[in-house]
Amino acid sequence: MTIGSMIGDIVESLFKKPVTQQYPFERKEAPERFRGRVHYEPGGCTGCQLCVKDCPAYALELITIDKAAKRFVMRYHMDRCVYCGQCVISCRFSSLRMAHDEWELAATSRSPFVIDYGLPEDLATLHGTEAEPEPDACRNV
Protein backbone atom coordinates (compact mmCIF):
# COMPACT_ATOMS: atom_id res chain seq x y z
CA MET A 1 0.00 0.00 0.00
CA THR A 2 1.36 3.35 -0.97
CA ILE A 3 0.20 6.92 -1.00
CA GLY A 4 1.09 9.29 -3.82
CA SER A 5 2.33 6.54 -6.09
CA MET A 6 2.61 8.89 -9.05
CA ILE A 7 4.77 11.54 -7.39
CA GLY A 8 7.78 10.01 -9.12
CA ASP A 9 6.27 10.77 -12.54
CA ILE A 10 5.57 14.36 -11.58
CA VAL A 11 9.08 14.99 -10.25
CA GLU A 12 10.56 13.40 -13.36
CA SER A 13 8.48 15.66 -15.60
CA LEU A 14 9.78 18.75 -13.81
CA PHE A 15 13.14 18.22 -15.45
CA LYS A 16 11.84 17.60 -18.94
CA LYS A 17 11.34 20.13 -21.71
CA PRO A 18 7.72 20.93 -22.60
CA VAL A 19 6.44 18.78 -25.47
CA THR A 20 4.09 21.46 -26.79
CA GLN A 21 4.95 22.69 -30.26
CA GLN A 22 4.53 26.32 -31.26
CA TYR A 23 2.18 25.19 -34.01
CA PRO A 24 1.97 27.83 -36.73
CA PHE A 25 5.72 28.42 -36.38
CA GLU A 26 6.82 24.80 -36.11
CA ARG A 27 4.98 22.03 -37.88
CA LYS A 28 5.19 18.35 -37.19
CA GLU A 29 5.38 16.50 -40.47
CA ALA A 30 2.38 14.30 -41.25
CA PRO A 31 3.15 10.60 -41.71
CA GLU A 32 3.70 9.35 -45.23
CA ARG A 33 0.35 7.53 -45.29
CA PHE A 34 -1.65 10.46 -43.97
CA ARG A 35 -4.80 11.00 -46.04
CA GLY A 36 -4.97 14.64 -47.11
CA ARG A 37 -6.43 16.45 -50.11
CA VAL A 38 -7.46 14.37 -53.12
CA HIS A 39 -5.74 15.03 -56.47
CA TYR A 40 -6.95 13.94 -59.91
CA GLU A 41 -4.85 13.33 -63.00
CA PRO A 42 -7.05 13.32 -66.12
CA GLY A 43 -4.53 11.21 -68.10
CA GLY A 44 -5.77 7.65 -67.51
CA CYS A 45 -9.39 8.38 -66.58
CA THR A 46 -11.96 6.47 -68.62
CA GLY A 47 -14.98 8.02 -66.94
CA CYS A 48 -16.16 4.77 -65.33
CA GLN A 49 -17.60 6.78 -62.41
CA LEU A 50 -16.64 4.17 -59.78
CA CYS A 51 -15.03 6.82 -57.58
CA VAL A 52 -18.22 8.89 -57.74
CA LYS A 53 -20.43 5.89 -56.92
CA ASP A 54 -18.28 4.70 -54.01
CA CYS A 55 -17.66 8.05 -52.33
CA PRO A 56 -19.48 7.83 -48.97
CA ALA A 57 -19.67 11.62 -48.68
CA TYR A 58 -20.77 12.43 -52.26
CA ALA A 59 -17.72 14.64 -52.58
CA LEU A 60 -16.81 13.83 -56.20
CA GLU A 61 -18.51 14.81 -59.45
CA LEU A 62 -17.22 13.78 -62.84
CA ILE A 63 -18.27 16.25 -65.52
CA THR A 64 -18.06 14.91 -69.07
CA ILE A 65 -16.65 17.35 -71.60
CA ASP A 66 -16.33 14.92 -74.50
CA LYS A 67 -17.17 11.29 -73.88
CA ALA A 68 -15.67 9.91 -77.10
CA ALA A 69 -12.34 11.68 -76.56
CA LYS A 70 -12.38 10.67 -72.85
CA ARG A 71 -12.13 14.20 -71.58
CA PHE A 72 -13.48 14.83 -68.12
CA VAL A 73 -13.33 17.44 -65.40
CA MET A 74 -13.38 16.25 -61.80
CA ARG A 75 -15.20 18.55 -59.42
CA TYR A 76 -14.00 17.87 -55.90
CA HIS A 77 -16.01 19.18 -52.94
CA MET A 78 -13.34 19.32 -50.30
CA ASP A 79 -15.76 20.34 -47.55
CA ARG A 80 -17.83 17.18 -47.96
CA CYS A 81 -14.81 14.86 -48.19
CA VAL A 82 -14.23 12.61 -45.18
CA TYR A 83 -10.72 11.62 -46.35
CA CYS A 84 -11.41 7.89 -46.25
CA GLY A 85 -9.37 7.08 -49.37
CA GLN A 86 -11.99 4.81 -50.99
CA CYS A 87 -11.87 6.73 -54.31
CA VAL A 88 -8.14 6.04 -54.59
CA ILE A 89 -8.79 2.31 -54.06
CA SER A 90 -11.79 2.24 -56.43
CA CYS A 91 -9.86 3.87 -59.30
CA ARG A 92 -8.42 1.15 -61.53
CA PHE A 93 -6.36 3.60 -63.58
CA SER A 94 -4.51 5.38 -60.75
CA SER A 95 -6.01 8.73 -61.65
CA LEU A 96 -6.55 9.69 -58.02
CA ARG A 97 -4.13 10.13 -55.16
CA MET A 98 -4.17 11.74 -51.73
CA ALA A 99 -1.51 14.24 -50.73
CA HIS A 100 -0.04 13.54 -47.29
CA ASP A 101 1.31 17.05 -46.84
CA GLU A 102 -1.85 19.02 -47.64
CA TRP A 103 -3.85 19.04 -44.44
CA GLU A 104 -4.21 22.71 -43.54
CA LEU A 105 -7.35 23.11 -45.60
CA ALA A 106 -9.46 25.51 -43.57
CA ALA A 107 -11.13 28.49 -45.24
CA THR A 108 -13.60 31.16 -44.17
CA SER A 109 -16.15 30.58 -46.93
CA ARG A 110 -17.36 27.55 -48.84
CA SER A 111 -16.29 28.60 -52.33
CA PRO A 112 -12.58 27.67 -52.00
CA PHE A 113 -13.69 24.12 -51.23
CA VAL A 114 -15.06 23.46 -54.71
CA ILE A 115 -12.09 22.46 -56.79
CA ASP A 116 -12.09 21.56 -60.48
CA TYR A 117 -9.34 19.29 -61.79
CA GLY A 118 -8.75 18.71 -65.49
CA LEU A 119 -6.80 19.76 -68.56
CA PRO A 120 -6.59 23.58 -68.93
CA GLU A 121 -8.60 23.58 -72.18
CA ASP A 122 -11.33 21.42 -70.63
CA LEU A 123 -11.54 23.72 -67.63
CA ALA A 124 -11.83 26.68 -70.01
CA THR A 125 -14.64 24.93 -71.92
CA LEU A 126 -16.43 24.18 -68.66
CA HIS A 127 -16.05 27.62 -67.15
CA GLY A 128 -16.89 29.31 -70.42
CA THR A 129 -20.26 27.59 -70.69
CA GLU A 130 -21.09 27.24 -67.03
CA ALA A 131 -21.06 29.86 -64.30
CA GLU A 132 -18.93 29.33 -61.18
CA PRO A 133 -20.75 26.94 -58.82
CA GLU A 134 -22.70 28.68 -56.13
CA PRO A 135 -21.52 27.86 -52.61
CA ASP A 136 -25.06 26.63 -51.88
CA ALA A 137 -24.85 24.09 -54.69
CA CYS A 138 -23.05 21.82 -52.22
CA ARG A 139 -26.33 21.20 -50.46
CA ASN A 140 -27.99 19.48 -53.39
CA VAL A 141 -26.75 15.98 -52.65
Binding site: R33, C55, P56
Partner: protein, 393 residues
Amino acid sequence: MEAKEPKKFIVPIGPQHPALKEPGHFEFSVDGEIVTGASIRLGYVHRGIEKGTEQRNWIQNIYLLERVCGICSHVHAMAYTLGVEKLAGVTAPPRAQAIRELVAELERIHSHMLWLGVAAHEGGFDTLFMYSWRDREVVMDLLESLTGNRVHYSTNVLGGVKIDVTPELADTIRKGCDFLEERLQHYLRVVTTDETFLARTRGVGPMTLEQAELLGAVGPTARASGVTRDIRIDAPYASYAEFPVTVVTDNGGDLTARFVVRIKELFESCRVIRQILDNMPESELVAKVPRRIPAGETISRVEAPRGELFYYIKSGGGDRPERVKSRTPSLCNWSTISTVAVGHKLADMPMLLAGIDPCFSCNDRMIQIRRKGHEDQLWTWEQLRRYGIEYYR
Protein backbone atom coordinates in the same frame (compact mmCIF):
# COMPACT_ATOMS: atom_id res chain seq x y z
CA MET B 1 -48.55 14.85 -2.40
CA GLU B 2 -50.13 12.78 0.30
CA ALA B 3 -48.37 12.77 3.61
CA LYS B 4 -48.37 8.98 3.90
CA GLU B 5 -46.34 8.39 0.76
CA PRO B 6 -42.65 7.81 1.44
CA LYS B 7 -40.75 10.87 0.34
CA LYS B 8 -38.29 10.40 -2.43
CA PHE B 9 -35.59 12.83 -3.40
CA ILE B 10 -34.47 12.51 -7.00
CA VAL B 11 -31.19 13.90 -8.28
CA PRO B 12 -31.46 14.42 -12.04
CA ILE B 13 -28.25 14.52 -14.05
CA GLY B 14 -28.11 15.48 -17.71
CA PRO B 15 -28.81 15.39 -20.61
CA GLN B 16 -26.77 18.57 -20.57
CA HIS B 17 -24.43 18.57 -17.63
CA PRO B 18 -20.94 19.94 -17.13
CA ALA B 19 -19.66 16.58 -15.87
CA LEU B 20 -21.01 14.53 -18.77
CA LYS B 21 -19.07 14.39 -21.99
CA GLU B 22 -21.98 12.96 -23.93
CA PRO B 23 -25.73 13.46 -23.52
CA GLY B 24 -27.62 11.01 -21.31
CA HIS B 25 -30.20 11.49 -18.61
CA PHE B 26 -29.86 9.82 -15.21
CA GLU B 27 -32.20 9.96 -12.26
CA PHE B 28 -30.87 8.81 -8.92
CA SER B 29 -33.34 8.60 -6.07
CA VAL B 30 -31.46 9.12 -2.83
CA ASP B 31 -32.00 8.64 0.86
CA GLY B 32 -29.57 11.11 2.35
CA GLU B 33 -26.39 10.33 0.47
CA ILE B 34 -27.22 6.73 -0.36
CA VAL B 35 -28.67 5.90 -3.76
CA THR B 36 -31.86 3.85 -3.55
CA GLY B 37 -32.70 3.63 -7.23
CA ALA B 38 -31.34 4.64 -10.60
CA SER B 39 -32.89 5.08 -14.00
CA ILE B 40 -31.29 5.89 -17.30
CA ARG B 41 -32.68 7.52 -20.40
CA LEU B 42 -30.77 7.47 -23.64
CA GLY B 43 -31.53 8.47 -27.17
CA TYR B 44 -30.36 12.06 -27.35
CA VAL B 45 -27.85 11.38 -30.09
CA HIS B 46 -29.84 9.08 -32.33
CA ARG B 47 -28.51 9.61 -35.83
CA GLY B 48 -30.44 7.14 -37.97
CA ILE B 49 -27.34 5.33 -39.18
CA GLU B 50 -29.06 1.94 -39.61
CA LYS B 51 -31.68 3.52 -41.88
CA GLY B 52 -28.95 5.44 -43.65
CA THR B 53 -27.25 2.20 -44.68
CA GLU B 54 -30.28 1.28 -46.77
CA GLN B 55 -29.68 4.28 -49.01
CA ARG B 56 -25.99 3.69 -49.63
CA ASN B 57 -24.18 0.95 -51.52
CA TRP B 58 -22.14 -1.81 -49.86
CA ILE B 59 -18.88 0.11 -50.12
CA GLN B 60 -20.18 3.47 -48.89
CA ASN B 61 -21.63 1.75 -45.84
CA ILE B 62 -18.18 0.74 -44.56
CA TYR B 63 -17.42 4.39 -43.90
CA LEU B 64 -20.85 5.21 -42.56
CA LEU B 65 -20.77 2.35 -40.05
CA GLU B 66 -17.22 3.24 -39.06
CA ARG B 67 -18.75 6.42 -37.72
CA VAL B 68 -21.11 4.65 -35.31
CA CYS B 69 -18.35 4.97 -32.76
CA GLY B 70 -15.37 7.30 -32.74
CA ILE B 71 -13.29 5.18 -30.39
CA CYS B 72 -13.80 1.69 -31.79
CA SER B 73 -14.25 2.66 -35.44
CA HIS B 74 -12.20 -0.23 -36.84
CA VAL B 75 -14.20 -3.03 -35.21
CA HIS B 76 -17.46 -1.66 -36.63
CA ALA B 77 -16.05 -1.61 -40.15
CA MET B 78 -14.47 -5.03 -39.57
CA ALA B 79 -17.71 -6.60 -38.31
CA TYR B 80 -19.57 -5.23 -41.32
CA THR B 81 -16.99 -6.25 -43.93
CA LEU B 82 -16.66 -9.74 -42.41
CA GLY B 83 -20.44 -10.09 -42.64
CA VAL B 84 -20.63 -8.87 -46.23
CA GLU B 85 -17.75 -11.15 -47.23
CA LYS B 86 -19.62 -14.06 -45.67
CA LEU B 87 -22.71 -13.18 -47.72
CA ALA B 88 -20.66 -12.91 -50.89
CA GLY B 89 -18.88 -16.20 -50.18
CA VAL B 90 -15.46 -14.54 -50.26
CA THR B 91 -12.71 -14.91 -47.68
CA ALA B 92 -10.16 -12.15 -47.32
CA PRO B 93 -6.54 -13.26 -47.84
CA PRO B 94 -4.61 -14.30 -44.70
CA ARG B 95 -2.35 -11.24 -44.66
CA ALA B 96 -5.39 -8.95 -44.79
CA GLN B 97 -6.95 -10.86 -41.88
CA ALA B 98 -3.75 -10.54 -39.87
CA ILE B 99 -3.63 -6.78 -40.52
CA ARG B 100 -7.26 -6.50 -39.42
CA GLU B 101 -6.39 -8.18 -36.14
CA LEU B 102 -3.30 -6.02 -35.73
CA VAL B 103 -5.26 -2.79 -36.13
CA ALA B 104 -8.04 -4.11 -33.87
CA GLU B 105 -5.55 -4.84 -31.07
CA LEU B 106 -3.82 -1.47 -31.45
CA GLU B 107 -7.26 0.07 -31.25
CA ARG B 108 -7.99 -1.88 -28.07
CA ILE B 109 -4.84 -0.43 -26.51
CA HIS B 110 -5.88 3.11 -27.37
CA SER B 111 -9.46 2.56 -26.22
CA HIS B 112 -8.53 1.02 -22.85
CA MET B 113 -5.92 3.70 -22.18
CA LEU B 114 -8.51 6.35 -22.96
CA TRP B 115 -10.85 4.65 -20.51
CA LEU B 116 -8.11 4.41 -17.87
CA GLY B 117 -7.69 8.17 -18.06
CA VAL B 118 -11.41 8.95 -18.02
CA ALA B 119 -12.12 6.58 -15.12
CA ALA B 120 -9.22 8.02 -13.12
CA HIS B 121 -10.49 11.52 -13.83
CA GLU B 122 -13.98 10.63 -12.60
CA GLY B 123 -12.38 9.38 -9.39
CA GLY B 124 -10.50 12.64 -8.98
CA PHE B 125 -7.10 11.17 -9.85
CA ASP B 126 -6.13 13.65 -12.54
CA THR B 127 -2.44 12.82 -12.43
CA LEU B 128 -3.17 9.32 -13.72
CA PHE B 129 -5.54 10.83 -16.31
CA MET B 130 -2.88 13.19 -17.69
CA TYR B 131 -0.08 10.64 -17.78
CA SER B 132 -2.11 7.80 -19.25
CA TRP B 133 -3.33 10.11 -22.00
CA ARG B 134 0.21 11.32 -22.64
CA ASP B 135 1.26 7.70 -23.16
CA ARG B 136 -1.81 7.01 -25.27
CA GLU B 137 -0.38 9.42 -27.83
CA VAL B 138 2.25 6.76 -28.58
CA VAL B 139 -0.35 4.28 -29.79
CA MET B 140 -2.28 7.04 -31.58
CA ASP B 141 0.88 7.94 -33.49
CA LEU B 142 1.43 4.27 -34.33
CA LEU B 143 -2.11 4.02 -35.70
CA GLU B 144 -1.66 7.21 -37.67
CA SER B 145 1.58 6.11 -39.29
CA LEU B 146 0.15 2.64 -40.00
CA THR B 147 -3.29 3.57 -41.33
CA GLY B 148 -3.11 7.26 -42.20
CA ASN B 149 -5.48 8.62 -39.59
CA ARG B 150 -5.77 8.90 -35.84
CA VAL B 151 -9.46 8.12 -35.41
CA HIS B 152 -11.19 6.78 -38.50
CA TYR B 153 -8.55 4.39 -39.78
CA SER B 154 -10.56 3.32 -42.86
CA THR B 155 -8.42 0.20 -43.08
CA ASN B 156 -11.09 -2.18 -44.35
CA VAL B 157 -12.34 -2.60 -47.87
CA LEU B 158 -14.69 -5.34 -49.00
CA GLY B 159 -12.47 -8.37 -49.41
CA GLY B 160 -9.41 -7.16 -47.55
CA VAL B 161 -7.52 -4.15 -46.32
CA LYS B 162 -5.99 -1.04 -47.89
CA ILE B 163 -2.73 -0.93 -46.00
CA ASP B 164 0.30 -3.14 -45.68
CA VAL B 165 2.82 -3.43 -42.88
CA THR B 166 6.37 -2.68 -43.94
CA PRO B 167 9.36 -3.98 -41.89
CA GLU B 168 10.16 -0.41 -40.77
CA LEU B 169 6.61 0.10 -39.53
CA ALA B 170 6.74 -3.26 -37.75
CA ASP B 171 9.87 -2.11 -35.89
CA THR B 172 8.19 1.16 -34.89
CA ILE B 173 5.17 -0.75 -33.58
CA ARG B 174 7.42 -3.16 -31.61
CA LYS B 175 9.25 -0.24 -30.00
CA GLY B 176 5.94 1.45 -29.19
CA CYS B 177 4.68 -1.75 -27.56
CA ASP B 178 7.85 -2.00 -25.42
CA PHE B 179 7.28 1.52 -24.11
CA LEU B 180 3.57 0.97 -23.54
CA GLU B 181 4.09 -2.29 -21.67
CA GLU B 182 6.54 -0.65 -19.30
CA ARG B 183 4.15 2.22 -18.63
CA LEU B 184 1.16 -0.11 -18.24
CA GLN B 185 3.05 -2.14 -15.62
CA HIS B 186 3.46 1.11 -13.74
CA TYR B 187 -0.24 1.98 -14.05
CA LEU B 188 -1.25 -1.50 -12.95
CA ARG B 189 0.89 -0.99 -9.85
CA VAL B 190 -0.70 2.43 -9.25
CA VAL B 191 -4.33 1.28 -9.49
CA THR B 192 -3.75 -1.78 -7.31
CA THR B 193 -1.58 -0.22 -4.58
CA ASP B 194 -2.37 3.49 -4.32
CA GLU B 195 -4.36 3.72 -1.12
CA THR B 196 -6.20 6.95 -1.94
CA PHE B 197 -7.36 5.61 -5.25
CA LEU B 198 -8.26 2.17 -3.90
CA ALA B 199 -10.53 3.90 -1.40
CA ARG B 200 -12.59 5.03 -4.40
CA THR B 201 -12.59 1.74 -6.27
CA ARG B 202 -12.24 -1.25 -3.94
CA GLY B 203 -15.64 -2.74 -3.14
CA VAL B 204 -17.45 -0.14 -5.24
CA GLY B 205 -20.15 -1.52 -7.53
CA PRO B 206 -19.51 -5.21 -6.89
CA MET B 207 -21.24 -7.44 -9.42
CA THR B 208 -21.33 -11.18 -8.89
CA LEU B 209 -20.94 -13.74 -11.64
CA GLU B 210 -24.68 -14.55 -11.44
CA GLN B 211 -25.63 -10.88 -11.68
CA ALA B 212 -23.36 -10.35 -14.67
CA GLU B 213 -24.93 -13.32 -16.46
CA LEU B 214 -28.45 -12.25 -15.51
CA LEU B 215 -28.03 -8.62 -16.54
CA GLY B 216 -26.35 -9.56 -19.81
CA ALA B 217 -23.06 -7.80 -19.18
CA VAL B 218 -20.44 -8.16 -21.90
CA GLY B 219 -16.76 -7.52 -22.44
CA PRO B 220 -14.32 -6.45 -19.72
CA THR B 221 -17.24 -5.47 -17.46
CA ALA B 222 -18.42 -9.10 -17.43
CA ARG B 223 -14.92 -10.54 -17.36
CA ALA B 224 -14.16 -8.51 -14.22
CA SER B 225 -16.95 -10.53 -12.58
CA GLY B 226 -15.44 -13.84 -13.62
CA VAL B 227 -17.43 -14.47 -16.81
CA THR B 228 -15.09 -16.19 -19.27
CA ARG B 229 -16.62 -14.88 -22.44
CA ASP B 230 -14.67 -13.34 -25.28
CA ILE B 231 -15.70 -13.56 -28.95
CA ARG B 232 -12.03 -13.60 -29.98
CA ILE B 233 -11.76 -17.00 -28.30
CA ASP B 234 -15.32 -18.35 -28.45
CA ALA B 235 -15.91 -17.68 -32.16
CA PRO B 236 -12.58 -16.65 -33.72
CA TYR B 237 -12.87 -14.24 -36.65
CA ALA B 238 -10.26 -12.54 -38.87
CA SER B 239 -6.98 -14.25 -37.87
CA TYR B 240 -7.74 -14.88 -34.20
CA ALA B 241 -7.59 -18.62 -34.88
CA GLU B 242 -3.95 -18.34 -36.05
CA PHE B 243 -2.94 -15.71 -33.51
CA PRO B 244 -5.05 -16.51 -30.45
CA VAL B 245 -5.37 -14.41 -27.32
CA THR B 246 -6.00 -15.76 -23.84
CA VAL B 247 -8.97 -14.53 -21.88
CA VAL B 248 -8.29 -12.30 -18.88
CA THR B 249 -10.73 -12.56 -15.99
CA ASP B 250 -10.89 -11.44 -12.39
CA ASN B 251 -13.23 -12.51 -9.63
CA GLY B 252 -13.39 -9.20 -7.80
CA GLY B 253 -16.39 -7.80 -9.66
CA ASP B 254 -15.74 -4.29 -8.30
CA LEU B 255 -14.15 -1.28 -9.96
CA THR B 256 -10.62 -2.38 -9.03
CA ALA B 257 -11.21 -5.64 -10.88
CA ARG B 258 -12.35 -3.72 -13.97
CA PHE B 259 -9.14 -1.68 -13.91
CA VAL B 260 -7.06 -4.84 -13.52
CA VAL B 261 -8.86 -6.74 -16.29
CA ARG B 262 -8.59 -3.91 -18.78
CA ILE B 263 -4.90 -3.26 -18.12
CA LYS B 264 -4.03 -6.96 -18.20
CA GLU B 265 -5.87 -7.28 -21.52
CA LEU B 266 -3.45 -4.76 -22.94
CA PHE B 267 -0.44 -6.93 -22.08
CA GLU B 268 -2.18 -9.69 -23.98
CA SER B 269 -2.78 -7.30 -26.91
CA CYS B 270 0.89 -6.28 -26.96
CA ARG B 271 1.92 -9.94 -26.94
CA VAL B 272 -0.36 -10.85 -29.84
CA ILE B 273 0.72 -7.75 -31.82
CA ARG B 274 4.36 -8.94 -31.58
CA GLN B 275 3.30 -12.44 -32.57
CA ILE B 276 1.47 -11.12 -35.66
CA LEU B 277 4.40 -8.92 -36.69
CA ASP B 278 6.86 -11.81 -36.34
CA ASN B 279 4.71 -14.28 -38.29
CA MET B 280 2.97 -12.08 -40.83
CA PRO B 281 1.58 -14.38 -43.56
CA GLU B 282 2.52 -13.56 -47.14
CA SER B 283 -0.37 -13.03 -49.56
CA GLU B 284 -2.12 -10.34 -51.52
CA LEU B 285 -4.23 -7.83 -49.60
CA VAL B 286 -7.60 -7.85 -51.34
CA ALA B 287 -9.88 -10.58 -52.71
CA LYS B 288 -12.41 -9.61 -55.33
CA VAL B 289 -15.95 -9.00 -54.06
CA PRO B 290 -18.80 -8.47 -56.53
CA ARG B 291 -20.60 -5.12 -56.48
CA ARG B 292 -23.92 -6.90 -56.08
CA ILE B 293 -24.04 -9.15 -53.04
CA PRO B 294 -26.13 -12.36 -53.40
CA ALA B 295 -29.42 -12.35 -51.52
CA GLY B 296 -29.31 -13.73 -47.99
CA GLU B 297 -28.89 -12.79 -44.38
CA THR B 298 -26.07 -13.24 -41.95
CA ILE B 299 -24.77 -12.25 -38.56
CA SER B 300 -21.29 -11.14 -37.69
CA ARG B 301 -19.81 -10.94 -34.20
CA VAL B 302 -16.56 -9.36 -33.09
CA GLU B 303 -15.07 -8.42 -29.75
CA ALA B 304 -14.94 -4.63 -29.55
CA PRO B 305 -12.88 -3.04 -26.75
CA ARG B 306 -16.12 -2.75 -24.74
CA GLY B 307 -17.46 -6.24 -25.44
CA GLU B 308 -19.38 -8.17 -28.03
CA LEU B 309 -20.37 -6.20 -31.11
CA PHE B 310 -23.09 -7.79 -33.19
CA TYR B 311 -24.13 -7.08 -36.77
CA TYR B 312 -27.09 -8.44 -38.70
CA ILE B 313 -26.93 -7.88 -42.44
CA LYS B 314 -29.62 -8.71 -44.99
CA SER B 315 -29.12 -8.51 -48.71
CA GLY B 316 -31.82 -8.58 -51.37
CA GLY B 317 -29.30 -9.26 -54.12
CA GLY B 318 -28.81 -5.63 -55.03
CA ASP B 319 -25.98 -3.15 -54.73
CA ARG B 320 -27.19 -1.96 -51.32
CA PRO B 321 -28.26 -3.78 -48.14
CA GLU B 322 -31.90 -4.27 -47.27
CA ARG B 323 -31.24 -4.09 -43.55
CA VAL B 324 -28.26 -3.61 -41.32
CA LYS B 325 -28.69 -3.89 -37.59
CA SER B 326 -25.98 -3.41 -35.03
CA ARG B 327 -25.97 -4.11 -31.33
CA THR B 328 -23.21 -2.31 -29.53
CA PRO B 329 -21.65 -3.49 -26.25
CA SER B 330 -22.34 -0.29 -24.30
CA LEU B 331 -26.07 -0.87 -24.52
CA CYS B 332 -25.77 -4.34 -22.97
CA ASN B 333 -23.82 -2.99 -20.03
CA TRP B 334 -26.16 -0.13 -19.12
CA SER B 335 -28.62 -2.38 -17.33
CA THR B 336 -25.95 -3.36 -14.80
CA ILE B 337 -25.80 0.22 -13.55
CA SER B 338 -29.36 0.49 -12.27
CA THR B 339 -28.93 -2.70 -10.23
CA VAL B 340 -25.40 -2.18 -9.00
CA ALA B 341 -25.84 1.50 -8.09
CA VAL B 342 -28.30 0.80 -5.27
CA GLY B 343 -26.75 1.17 -1.83
CA HIS B 344 -23.79 3.26 -2.92
CA LYS B 345 -23.03 6.90 -2.23
CA LEU B 346 -24.09 9.46 -4.81
CA ALA B 347 -20.44 10.52 -5.10
CA ASP B 348 -19.58 7.04 -6.40
CA MET B 349 -21.99 7.32 -9.33
CA PRO B 350 -19.63 9.04 -11.81
CA MET B 351 -17.06 6.28 -11.27
CA LEU B 352 -19.69 3.56 -11.54
CA LEU B 353 -20.96 5.03 -14.80
CA ALA B 354 -17.44 5.34 -16.15
CA GLY B 355 -16.69 1.79 -14.96
CA ILE B 356 -18.61 0.16 -17.80
CA ASP B 357 -16.78 2.36 -20.32
CA PRO B 358 -20.00 3.74 -21.79
CA CYS B 359 -20.12 5.12 -25.29
CA PHE B 360 -23.33 7.12 -25.62
CA SER B 361 -23.68 7.59 -29.34
CA CYS B 362 -23.09 3.86 -29.90
CA ASN B 363 -26.23 3.14 -27.91
CA ASP B 364 -28.78 5.13 -29.69
CA ARG B 365 -30.98 2.89 -31.78
CA MET B 366 -34.63 3.14 -32.48
CA ILE B 367 -36.79 0.24 -31.39
CA GLN B 368 -40.39 -0.27 -32.28
CA ILE B 369 -42.57 -1.92 -29.67
CA ARG B 370 -45.63 -3.57 -31.17
CA ARG B 371 -48.48 -3.79 -28.72
CA LYS B 372 -51.77 -5.49 -29.28
CA GLY B 373 -54.55 -3.15 -30.25
CA HIS B 374 -52.20 -0.37 -31.30
CA GLU B 375 -52.03 0.42 -34.98
CA ASP B 376 -48.72 1.38 -36.53
CA GLN B 377 -48.58 5.04 -37.34
CA LEU B 378 -46.75 6.44 -40.30
CA TRP B 379 -45.97 10.11 -40.02
CA THR B 380 -44.77 12.37 -42.77
CA TRP B 381 -41.91 14.80 -42.24
CA GLU B 382 -44.41 17.67 -42.12
CA GLN B 383 -46.51 15.99 -39.41
CA LEU B 384 -43.41 15.22 -37.35
CA ARG B 385 -42.27 18.81 -37.64
CA ARG B 386 -45.63 20.14 -36.54
CA TYR B 387 -45.66 17.68 -33.62
CA GLY B 388 -42.19 18.84 -32.60
CA ILE B 389 -43.18 22.52 -32.68
CA GLU B 390 -46.32 21.81 -30.64
CA TYR B 391 -44.38 19.69 -28.13
CA TYR B 392 -41.85 22.37 -27.33
CA ARG B 393 -44.25 25.32 -27.43
